[in-house]
């Protein structure tokens, strides 16, 4: 353990720690542009210069220099200041200094450092260079003249996104960042380029000229577009969500989020259900109604009917599902996407190895899943694991470009049977691995023999002592399964009243009896609302406080950032109000009471941000598996739920992705 002195303070650090990191531990901030915690260290910006003794009498780049015994480091000496001023002056030579019209203004590293190390005037009288802007697609706006060539974006694309498409072209004064051949970038993680770029060269297109950072109210919450539960920050001005940014959580999303999480927010402003509606008996059309009318209509139907079923959709929060369960009691279902699997044991539906645990895997088997689309953050983790240790990754199911090399084993359950028997080359890989894991997507369960496939996967996990991991795609799912929002055999076809809590999946809607009375509670006018006889307007994830449980079984709290539009209300409150109309008032009057009720029965909901591991029990269904191949449930990454369907940005992304795919096909021919 090297022991050294930084600004005359002694510190002992782990071998390999850079001076920059050590200084940071002591709270001495070292300015930097190219260094980024999660990326490789090129040491090309020279902003982090410090004075080091013993050593050559010149400043050293602290990000690339490891701490050694008896070093004496100065981060604030006259030499350091002079050196940094020089670097800053050089960086600003070709910088346009257009902060007043730059979206990075107010949160720009270059602006901040210039305050510390810049001069108040320029000594440069030549003409500045200008660089042509690039078209990187519908999300990233470029002003390449502002670029300081730190290459963070290039390294992000290579090392995290796994799609090396950006590079530094030419050299010297002509250097510029780009794709060289004109093309848009094809990663689902492109929004993170905006965050890694320390200046205003890469900024958000949808957010361009919309707001200044100091006007925004910041709410720390979580994402619901997939089941990962990425930690996000929602920035709002007034009652409008202006942008969404990632929050650091090493165990879940590190410091990245995917483009759907970041850019689908414009969908929150369109197609909203902002008042109750009732289907008019005469015209057969939906007409606006008051809450009182709507509740009365629902009450009349429910009181008359014996067969009431309730479905919980992909975006529902735990509180509203518990309230709905308490109200309806039986005939509940949350697997609205047509999947079938055994839920008797918690280990049977969780991502037991945890997301961070992927990094320890030395062999990974993907079954019926395209993680790149189903959980981009999980895919980024797998890519990271492959990058660090060249993990062998096998695929059973559809083959996709997952950003890392994979071994194709087969398309359907028969390949799993072979693996269980120890047949095939990949069986040896699994057998020789110390920490193999299996990741099972909804594609493996979205079939009549889903539960049998689940058994097969369990046998596989037991045989190779591998981690058993289910990759859900719906944010609400694990919480719903935890609270038992399921029924063994639910004949939707025979129900005469169906309560849909944000269910828009065709797999469920198509099975409802055409004569049944349908109540739709949700926030977007989509497929579910079209089918509804009564619409109760609820809140989207940015508009309510709610608990969600992610794929790992991690309970996380979403926080309200803005108010739901019009007469829409928080979902659990709607159910609570309805219970009063039905004459069976639920025994909780505020969120705290409801949460107490939840924790009493399911104690893990009390442990927010932690994972309560599931006990390994026998699970899965009996029966024979069928031969048909697995298919991935998501074929369009950008359009997966009601919010994304209402989002213009997501529509543009989908269009660009389709164009890119077409071009790719053309090139391959």
């Amino acid at each position: 353990m090297p022991k050294l002195k930084i600004d005359n303070v002694e510190i002992e650090v782990a071998p390999g720690t850079s001076i920059l990191q050590a200084a940071e531990m002591l709270g001495h901030e070292v300015p930097r542009f190219c260094f980024h915690d999660k990326l490789s260290v090129p040491a090309n910006c020279r902003m982090c210069l410090v004075e080091v003794k013993p050593g050559p009498p010149k400043p050293q780049a602290s990000c690339a220099l490891s701490c050694a015994d008896n070093m004496e480091v100065f981060t604030d000496s006259p030499m350091v200041k002079k050196a940094r001023k020089g670097v800053m002056e050089m960086l600003l030579i070709n910088h346009p200094l257009d902060c007043p019209i730059c979206d990075q203004g107010g949160e720009c590293d270059l602006q901040d450092q210039a305050v510390g190390f810049g001069f108040d005037r320029s000594r440069y009288y030549e003409s500045k260079r200008a660089v042509k802007d690039k078209n990187l697609g519908p999300l990233i706006k470029t002003v390449m003249t502002r670029c300081i060539q730190c290459t963070r974006c290039v390294r992000f694309a290579d090392e995290v996104a796994g799609t090396a498409e950006l590079g530094m072209m030419n050299r010297g004064e002509e250097s510029e960042i780009g794709t060289f051949i004109e093309k848009t970038i094809t990663t689902e993680l492109s929004g993170n380029l905006i965050d890694v770029c320390p200046v205003g060269a890469l900024t958000s297109k949808p957010y361009a000229f919309q707001a200044r950072p100091w006007e925004l109210k910041k709410t720390e919450t979580i994402d619901v577009h997939d089941a990962v539960g990425a930690n996000i920050r929602v920035d709002a001005r007034g009652n409008e969500v202006m942008r969404i940014l990632p929050r650091l959580n090493e165990d879940v999303n590190e410091e990245w989020i995917d483009d759907r999480t970041r850019f689908a927010y414009d969908g929150l402003k369109r197609q909203r259900l902002d008042r109750p509606y009732i289907r008019d008996d005469k015209t057969g059309r939906l007409r606006p109604a008051s809450w009182d009318e709507a509740f009365a209509a629902v009450t009349a139907k429910i009181n008359k009917s014996k067969n009431v079923a309730a479905f919980a959709g992909p975006l529902a929060d735990a509180e509203s599902m518990v309230a709905l369960k308490d109200l309806i009691g039986t005939n509940l279902e949350c697997r609205t996407d047509g999947t079938q699997y055994d839920v008797s044991s918690r280990a049977g539906y969780l991502f037991n190895s945890t997301i961070a645990g992927i990094e320890e895997a030395d062999a990974i088997l993907l079954v019926g899943t395209n993680p790149r689309f189903e959980a981009a953050m999980v895919n980024a983790r797998i890519h990271k694991t492959w990058r660090n240790r060249r993990t062998k990754i096998g695929v059973v199911g559809e083959q996709h470009n997952l950003t890392y090399p994979t071994t194709y084993i087969g398309s359907g359950p028969s390949s799993l049977e072979d693996l269980v028997k120890g047949k095939g080359a990949f069986a040896d890989v699994l057998a020789n691995a110390k920490k193999p894991i299996i990741i099972i997507g909804m594609g493996a369960f979205k079939r009549a023999d889903g539960a049998a496939v689940q058994s097969l996967c369990r046998e596989l996990a037991e045989k190779f002592n591998a981690g058993f991991n289910v990759l859900h795609t719906a944010a609400s799912r694990v919480a719903a399964l935890d609270i038992g929002f399921v029924s063994d055999k639910l004949n939707v076809e025979h129900m005469d009243v169906v309560y849909l809590l944000g269910v828009d999946d065709r797999e469920t809607l198509d099975r409802i009896d055409p004569k049944a009375f349908v109540i739709y509670q949700g926030h977007h006018g989509d497929a579910g609302a079209m089918r509804a006889d009564v619409i109760l307007p609820g809140s989207a994830y940015t508009e309510k406080n709610g608990l969600y449980v992610n794929i790992e079984g991690r309970v996380q709290a979403a926080k309200q950032a803005v108010w739901a539009p019009g007469e829409a209300r928080e979902d659990w409150k709607i159910i609570r109000a309805l219970s009063g109309y039905l004459g069976r008032a639920l025994p909780y009057d505020d969120l705290a009471q409801l949460r107490t009720r939840i924790v009493k029965q399911w104690s893990h909901f009390g442990q927010v941000d932690t994972i309560v591991p599931a006990e390994w029990k026998k699970f899965g269904g009996a029966g024979k598996v069928e031969a048909q191949p697995f298919t991935s449930p998501i074929d369009n990454f950008y359009i997966t739920n009601v919010i994304t369907r209402a989002s213009l940005t997501m529509a543009k992304c989908a269009e660009t992705a389709a164009e890119n795919a077409a071009r790719h096909l053309e090139a391959a021919e």
Binding site: A164, E165, G167, M169, N170, R171, E174, T179, F180, I181
Partner: protein, 213 residues
């Protein structure tokens, strides 16, 4: 100077294939296992020379350059991202990314050559060929570019034409060389004023006793 490049230009061939894959394999085999991507530079050079050979025989002739398809082909052969090949190809001034004349005249204009009159050499080229620096003659024979120090400062001023150095140039001699090359004649390479290599102009000054009379 920024290298000219146009991904959609009509002269960009749709595909590119190396003439002799055995040479490609030999080049790749020079690098240790797992480091095959290092072959990107010699392969780019190989592609440029192959195109140059075709160009020498064509009418009008052209010199070696690297089509976009060749860069993509190299990225396939070495299984590396295309953009990484583009990075290398745009970085080094020796790679041409657009067609050049059959004779690529690179006039050095860095300080030592400049002090010894490189401006005159450049002017001589421009005047004789009737083009500006950076342009190619209509007959496809010559392209003139200005480059930084080529490491022959002792014999300044100098110019590199294709693979050869022509040193100790004067404006007149430069014109003569261009004329000779255009008519297909051989021109002795190296110093053009009679000295051997970089020996002092007035003859040897040291170690004279070792010179056999």
């Amino acid at each position: 100077m920024k290298k000219p490049f146009d991904q959609n230009a009509p002269y960009q061939p749709a595909t590119f294939a190396f003439k002799d894959m055995a040479v490609v394999a030999e080049i790749i085999s020079r690098y240790p296992e797992g480091r095959q991507q290092s072959a990107v530079m010699p392969l780019l050079d190989l592609a440029q020379r192959q195109v140059g050979e075709e160009g020498a025989a064509a009418t009008p002739p052209f010199g070696g350059w690297i089509p976009r398809a060749a860069m993509d082909e190299i990225s396939n052969i070495l299984s590396m991202p295309k953009v990484k090949v583009y990075e290398v190809a745009t970085f080094y001034s020796m790679y041409n990314l657009a067609p050049v004349g059959k004779f690529l005249v690179q006039v050095c204009s860095t300080s030592p050559c400049w002090l010894c009159g490189s401006d005159k050499i450049k002017q001589a080229c421009e005047k004789h060929l009737g083009i500006h620096t950076g342009e190619t003659t209509k007959d496809g024979l010559f392209t003139v570019v200005e480059v930084e120090c080529l490491g022959a400062c002792v014999n300044a001023p100098m110019a590199q034409i294709n693979d050869d150095f022509y040193e100790d140039l004067t404006a007149e001699r430069t014109t003569e060389i261009l004329k000779a090359l255009a008519s297909g004649k051989q021109v002795p390479i190296g110093p053009q004023n009679g000295r051997t290599n970089s020996m002092a102009l007035g003859g040897p000054t040291t170690l004279k006793d070792r010179v056999k009379a």
